[in-house]
């Protein structure tokens, strides 16, 4: 790209020159025509750097396209989205228009325009081939200076910034300023209009219209005086914000763009007219007789037309016009003599035009057309060169061609991804698949391929440069042969290749193979250069890729060179590694002179200490192939596992036998490494059983024959007892080659060794013959070590469930089934089923600190007993108790054998208790209400007696014994509770009905609260002491506290209590107490119920549980009794009030006595007449409560049954 003038390659945009914004003109604009020289400084009132918005304005205008090689706004798809783009350059005060006609006088200064004007004897442009001072004189076609003129110096639009004075005082001074400005603007306008350049003035002011009232008027005056209109001639710009400035610049450009395009249209038309006139009015013949032919002039005009079309951003027109010019020039080149300097110029124009057509096609998003243009250009020039020089086999041809590829590559680097994608080799043509019907040469590959092409061509160029050069020589773009000899071809090739390498580096691994190829090419060149360090580096980059996918042909081709490179740069590790790799027979066809292992370092070894080189077989193509298999997939602990290590040496025939010093086989999972050392005395049989010795050291040592002929397979069988549970895996292999001056090791990871059907077998030797068996396991190098089968029985003598809070002792019997002595220890672990908490256990007979107990030596087939205690949790749950017996046989002291036994232990409540609270008759009289016991108290201390019966049942009542209890009434409020301690302090078993325990607690409740209370509450707590009766070893005493019972005692309510004092068949004495604990006088109507119903009696054989007498007469029972028992007449004679009104005084109890005489003597349960007590004041019947357990009351009907004994 550097060899071409930038004007030829860059994109042409309409040129806008901006004057008066900066004192530092754009760099490119300074390089005006070399024929012009700056002079005559201007004296106009230009705005300078002191103007506040000057920098902002300058930025707003010049920002944007400078017109590089690739112009993003020119792409067809994007063009509409872009605002008009100008090439904007800033010029200084001393800017001059390029001279129109060649003149001995200096060019015209714009600012100091003189009316004398350019008066030239010649009527030609200074760049025309007709002007003697032109570089094209006399027969050149066109030069870059012409392009440079339109790119840099001759604008389509000239924008001049001027300040209108708003600061100075006095209208006189202002008007003199304005007049100066008008004069200058008129001068400038006149000068530019002569060249058809649009002149635009921008008048800036430091004050806005509001601040300077006459500003509008003055600007109108300026416009009027200069003839510059408001729309596109003279703009005024008051002070404004940066955003407004940008909008101003944008709108200005928008307004001027069509005018700019018109400017180039005019030029295009002009060129076309000249082309049509075909140089008829050409200049007179020049002195030396040579002049540009008509064809040359045509090309000049065609080229100009194309350039102006490009300025107009009409890519399609430009393609066409450049095409015409290209064809003409190609034809014209035929006529140029080889030695002429015009040859190179014309060639360059030809390249330029091809490049422009190609680029315009890319702008039009037509990569296929672009590639076609490229191909046509190459073919045309090739044909031209062959015709002109009769051979194309010259360095200059290849240099030119490489240059074309390089140029294309650099262009494609600038092209956006959607036109030339980098991730695939080329853009799809309509579809993703480019079929065979499409010419393959017409697809445009991305820049990486072009760099590669350029590199390949540069290699060719370098080769041609060494050859003898045929005469005449084409020297386009190349130095003459004597200099070409010293050209750094390989440097250029390397830089091209490295660029290509970078282009293929996509970081996603998508083009790694292409990179490997380029790396290989770079390595080759480096190697030839003698830069071995770099060569080795690139060989390494390349090798990995080919090794990965087993492209051994390519890999083999580079190993030898890589070895030389490694040796030259003294990288011994790399050398050993590569030498190892070269030993593989895979590379035999491409490698001769393979070194024996002893010659790996070629005598360049250090004389000092023995170096050790460890090479990982995964990083090379290893010639040693290994496979390890265990015979079984599972083995019991302490048994011997049998495994086979199969080794195959696939080294090349060229080195003969390979001798390994040792092979170390490593395991994971509890087996020591096995070290097989070579022994010359052993024969190299196909299968060898290894005898392992020295089991105590770091390795298990064995001896075997480790000399391998090419392709030899050898199987080593090992047998080792295993002493660790888990998975045993053969992990790696280290093959050691000990040579006289160094040691090389090859580490083989058995996990990554590829599956080889020939090796993956189990070998059986039988009668000197070897048979193979298929392996069943998918992972034969691993074996699962499972524990040895235990031969002990564990029996726990636990009956029934466990109870909460219990401290339980569980005896165990462990019976040995082994036929030799064992050392036994037992461990206990108790936890709930969900595993949330552990339950403490302890061994009885041990110190209790450890959860294991040593039971010492147990003789064969004998039993041993032990006990452990366990404290149950205080809540119901399910426990599992694991008993783990671990024992060692005396013959195998290292191997522990485990037997476990699980006891499922539900923990439940030991007892269920039901309570009943019934009233009792207080035997003593209540205190007199007339006596004052306590001054604060309203009532005398009345005591009522209650009976709390507790019935205790259990799941397994037979095996539980309650031997003590504690009963306590606490939290008593308002009353005083006195617990009567009568009778034996033990629960009685009700053997009659069931095994349930029953006990009655008598409580005297005395009202001692000064305030009158209706109800008193208390907590009753019962704690039982109990023990198991079914444990052989005797049970410990446990206590069980029942849930607290809430007791409520009604205090005030009147009640009727009934008791039976005599129940003989002669006389049944009923006693009724009507209690009035209130302070009111109560009146009751009392009736002894004697209706017919009552006179019936029921022989009741029904056995009832005493404690539930209140519930026994439910409806069902009653109904069934009525059905079964026939009615009998039975009458009672009685003594007592049949119906009477009873008044009960406050704080007193009335006793009513009834004597019943059964008339029909019937023993057993009889219904007796019952008393009805009716409160006449409150209109309420009072219930009659039984005050003893000698009779029963049906609370529903109020019927009373008495068990009449037959004998008095």
């Amino acid at each position: 790209m550097e060899v071409y003038p930038p004007e030829y390659l860059c994109h042409n945009l309409p040129l806008m020159l901006v004057r008066g914004l900066t004192t530092n003109p754009s760099k490119t604009s300074q390089s005006t025509l070399n024929t012009s020289s700056p002079d005559s400084p201007g004296g106009s009132p230009l705005i300078d750097t002191s103007f506040p918005d000057g920098a902002e304005l300058f930025k707003a205008f010049t920002e944007g396209a400078e017109g590089g090689i690739w112009e993003g706004s020119a792409v067809k798809a994007d063009r509409k989205a872009h605002a008009p783009v100008f090439r904007v350059l800033a010029v200084g005060k001393d800017y001059q228009l390029p001279a129109k006609k060649a003149s001995p006088l200096s060019p015209v200064s714009v600012s100091s325009f003189s009316s004398s004007g350019p008066k030239s004897p010649s009527s030609h442009s200074p760049l025309s081939p007709l002007s003697p001072e032109s570089p094209l004189f006399p027969d050149g076609i066109i030069s870059q200076f012409w392009l440079r003129k339109y790119r840099n110096s001759l604008p389509a639009v000239f924008v001049s910034f001027h300040e209108i004075c708003t600061e100075s005082e006095g209208t006189k001074s202002r008007s003199s300023h304005d007049n100066d400005l008008i004069k200058e603007l008129n001068d400038l306008k006149k000068q530019f209009s002569e060249r058809n350049v649009k002149f635009v003035a921008v008048v800036v002011s430091r004050r806005s219209i509001l601040q300077s009232i006459d500003l509008n008027e003055r600007i109108s005056y300026l416009r009027k005086s200069t003839g510059l209109d408001a729309k596109s001639g003279l703009f005024s710009l008051p002070p404004c914000s940066p955003l407004e400035i940008q909008t101003f610049a944008k709108e200005l450009k928008q307004a001027l763009y069509p005018i700019a395009l018109d400017f180039y249209s005019t030029l295009l038309k002009h060129a076309r007219r000249k082309r049509v006139r075909n140089g008829g009015s050409q200049s007179p013949p020049v002195s030396n007789g040579q002049r540009l032919s008509a064809a040359g002039w045509n090309i000049r005009y065609e080229f100009k037309q194309a350039v102006f079309a490009e300025f107009r951003q009409e890519n399609d027109v430009a393609i066409k016009l450049y095409g015409i010019a290209y064809e003409s020039l190609l034809e014209y080149l035929d006529s140029i003599s080889i030695g002429s300097p015009r040859w190179n110029e014309a060639r360059m124009i030809l390249d330029t035009m091809a490049f422009k057509i190609l680029k315009c096609n890319l702008y039009q998003c037509q990569p296929v057309m672009a590639q076609k243009v490229f191909n046509v250009h190459i073919e045309s020039v090739t044909a031209l060169v062959e015709k002109k020089f009769s051979t194309k086999d010259t360095y200059s041809y290849f240099a030119w061609k490489a240059q074309q590829y390089w140029l294309l590559a650099q262009l494609l680097d600038l092209v956006p991804e959607d036109i030339s994608p980098r991730s695939v080799p080329f853009t799809g043509v309509n579809t993703t698949v480019v079929g065979p019907d499409f010419p393959s040469a017409n697809v445009l590959h991305h820049s990486g391929f072009q760099y590669l092409g350029a590199a390949g061509l540069t290699i060719e160029r370098g080769r041609r440069a060494r050859d003898s050069v045929p005469e005449p020589l084409d020297l386009y773009l190349v130095p003459p042969p004597e200099q070409e000899q010293y050209f750094d071809h390989s440097g250029l090739v390397l830089s091209l290749l490295e660029t290509a390498y970078a282009r293929f580096n996509k970081n996603d691994g998508s083009q790694t193979r292409m990179q490997a190829y380029i790396a290989h090419e770079i390595a080759q060149i480096r190697f030839k250069e003698g830069n071995y360090v770099d060569a080795l580096k690139y060989f390494h980059l390349s090798e990995t890729e080919y090794r990965r996918e087993k492209w051994y042909t390519i890999l083999g081709s580079m190993i030898s060179e890589a070895i030389i490179a490694a040796r030259k740069c003294g990288n011994k590790f790399e050398l050993v590694k590569l030498q190892f790799e070269r030993l593989s027979k895979e590379f035999a066809p491409w490698n001769s002179g393979v070194a024996n292992i002893s010659d790996f370092l070629d005598g360049s070894e250090d004389t000092g200490e023995m170096p050790v080189y460890v090479v990982d077989s995964d990083s090379i193509v290893s010639f040693v192939e290994a496979h390890f298999a265990f015979m079984a997939t599972e083995a019991h602990l302490a048994t011997s596992v049998v495994g086979q290590l199969t080794l195959r040496s696939q080294h090349t025939l060229a080195v003969g036998a390979v001798r390994m010093s040792s092979v170390q086989l490593n395991f994971t999972g509890g087996l020591k490494p096995i070290l097989i050392t070579h022994d010359d005395n052993l024969s190299g049989s196909r299968a060898q059983k290894l005898e392992l010795s020295d089991m105590t050291g770091e390795y298990s040592n064995a001896k075997g024959c480790l000399v391998f002929q090419p392709g030899d397979v050898r199987t080593f069988e090992i047998s080792q007892p295993i002493k660790t549970l888990g998975t045993l895996t053969a992990s790696s292999l280290i093959v050691t080659f000990e040579e006289s001056s160094f040691t090389a090791k090859l580490a083989i990871n058995l996990a990554t060794v590829p599956f080889d059907e020939a090796l993956s077998k189990w070998w059986i030797e039988d009668g000197g013959k070897l048979y193979s068996q298929r392996l069943t396991s998918s992972l034969p190098r691993s074996i699962k070590v499972i524990p040895k089968q235990p031969h002990v029985d564990i029996i726990s003598e636990l009956k029934g469930p466990a109870y909460i809070g219990e401290k339980l002792t569980i005896p165990l019997t462990i019976t040995s089934g082994e036929d030799e002595d064992m050392r036994l220890s037992v461990k206990i672990k108790a936890q709930n089923v969900e595993g949330q908490f552990n339950v403490p256990t302890s061994w009885i007979g041990s110190d209790g600190s450890s959860d294991a107990i040593e039971l010492g030596t147990v003789p064969p087939f004998s039993s041993v007993q032990c006990q452990f205690s366990i404290s149950m949790p205080s809540d119901a749950c399910d426990l599992t108790v694991d008993v783990i017996a671990t024992y060692l046989l005396l013959s195998e002291p290292d191997i522990s054998i485990v037997k476990s036994h699980t006891i499922d232990l539900p923990v439940i409540f030991p007892f269920h208790v039901s309570y009943d609270l019934t009233p009792r008759i207080y035997p003593r009289r209540w205190p007199s209400p007339f006596f004052i016991y306590d001054l604060e108290s309203h009532s005398p201390p009345i005591t009522k007696r209650w009976c709390l019966s507790a019935v205790i049942d259990a799941v397994d009542l037979q095996h539980l014994e309650i031997h003590d209890y504690e009963f306590d009434v606490s939290n008593v409020v308002g009353v005083h509770c006195h617990l009567l301690e009568d009778g034996p302090k033990a629960f009685q078993r009700d053997t009659s009905s069931s095994d349930a325990y029953q006990h009655n607690f008598m409580i005297d409740v005395t009202n001692n609260d000064p305030m009158e209370k209706r109800i008193a509450a208390a907590d009753a707590k019962l704690t039982l002491s109990w023990r198991r009766t079914n444990m052989d070893s005797g049970s410990e005493d446990n206590s069980f506290t029942l849930p607290t019972l809430k007791l409520t005692f009604p205090l005030l309510e009147p009640r009727v209590l009934m008791d039976v004092e005599s129940t003989s068949s002669d006389n049944v004495h009923l006693v009724y107490f009507i209690e009035n604990a209130t302070s009111h006088l109560l009146t009751f109507s009392v009736t002894l119920d004697l209706n017919n119903d009552m006179s019936l009696s029921y022989p009741i054989r029904h056995q009832m549980r005493q404690q539930s007498y209140s519930k026994d007469f439910d409806e069902q029972d009653h109904a069934s009794l009525q059905e079964k028992v026939p009615l009998q007449h039975a009458n009672f004679a009685y003594e007592g009030a049949k119906q009477v009104g009873v008044r009960v005084l406050p704080y007193t109890a009335r006793r009513l006595d009834y004597e019943l005489l059964p008339l029909a003597v019937t023993s057993g349960w009889q219904r007796v007449p019952a008393l009805r007590v009716y409160d006449t004041h409150f209109k309420k019947s009072l219930s009659v409560f039984p005050a003893s357990e000698k009779f029963r009351v049906d609370f529903k009907t109020g019927a009373v049954y008495v068990n009449i004994s037959s004998t008095p």
């Binding site: 061609k401 492209w551 390519i554």
Partner: protein
């Protein structure tokens, strides 16, 4: 100009080479020129080892084909995600004057054909791919051939089949007659000492001058199969079979 097959390559599922064979004329010039239609080897003036220049040249040609086949895997990998059901990968890339066309079977075996760039191949190339695929299937289905998908194919029969396909395509327009090609390669190939008859054989009839493949006949008998056309390639095949 009739296109000419210069390279046939098969790559396995794991991108390993199965078969890479070049069919270049012997008298090719050596060039790095990307536009050179003379498909040939690199210059090897600085070749390492005491090999003769001739051997080195042929080896470099072979190597170059390996490189091209290997690079084509990049394109297979890049295009595979967008690929729908069909096997045709079309043009893979043009490099070193070779235009590479790709095809992938359902089992992931990649087929690559190399032509000189700048030529229009014609859609008959698909029948070449199918024929090559068929030859590969025949090889895999052969119960007497132990297939290792990770190793290059070592089958003389397969080699002959591929050569036959290529020669039928290249036809008489080749500078060397197919007979010369085959006999030359047979002599070079160490496996070609015995003739395996009775195995599957693929014949192609070359009915037109532009090398279109029309019919695929499969024969399981060792006897001479009826030659469907007076094409020069069919007798050549028979010659090889008999030799």
């Amino acid at each position: 100009m009739v296109s000419r097959i210069y390279l046939v390559a098969l790559m396995g599922r794991e991108n390993n080479p199965l078969y890479v064979r070049g069919f270049a004329p012997e008298t090719a010039s050596t060039s790095h020129d990307p536009d050179s239609t003379d498909v040939s080897s690199y210059d090897d003036s600085s070749s390492i080892g005491p090999t003769s220049a001739e051997v080195s040249t042929s080896r470099d040609t072979e190597l170059r084909y390996h490189f091209l086949a290997h690079i084509s895997l990049d394109v297979f990998a890049a295009r595979l995600p967008q690929k729908t059901s069909d096997s045709d990968f079309g043009l893979l890339f043009v490099q070193d004057g070779m235009a590479m066309y790709g095809w992938m079977t359902n089992t992931g075996v990649k087929l690559v054909l190399g032509f000189a760039s700048g030529e229009i191949i014609g859609s008959e190339i698909r029948s070449i791919f199918r024929a090559t695929h068929f030859a590969y299937i025949s090889l895999v289905c052969n119960p007497f051939y132990t297939m290792d998908e990770r190793r290059p194919i070592q089958s003389r029969k397969f080699d002959i089949n591929i050569r036959r396909i290529v020669d039928a395509w290249n036809g008489t327009t080749s500078t060397h007659t197919p007979a010369e090609s085959i006999s030359r390669s047979s002599a070079a190939s160490p496996q070609s000492t015995s003739n395996i008859s009775g195995a599957s054989t693929v014949y192609y009839s070359n009915t037109s001058n532009n090398g279109a493949i029309e019919g695929v006949v499969m024969s399981y008998s060792g006897s001479r199969s009826p030659s469907p056309s007076p094409s020069p390639s069919a007798p050549t095949s028979e010659t090889v079979m008999a030799s």
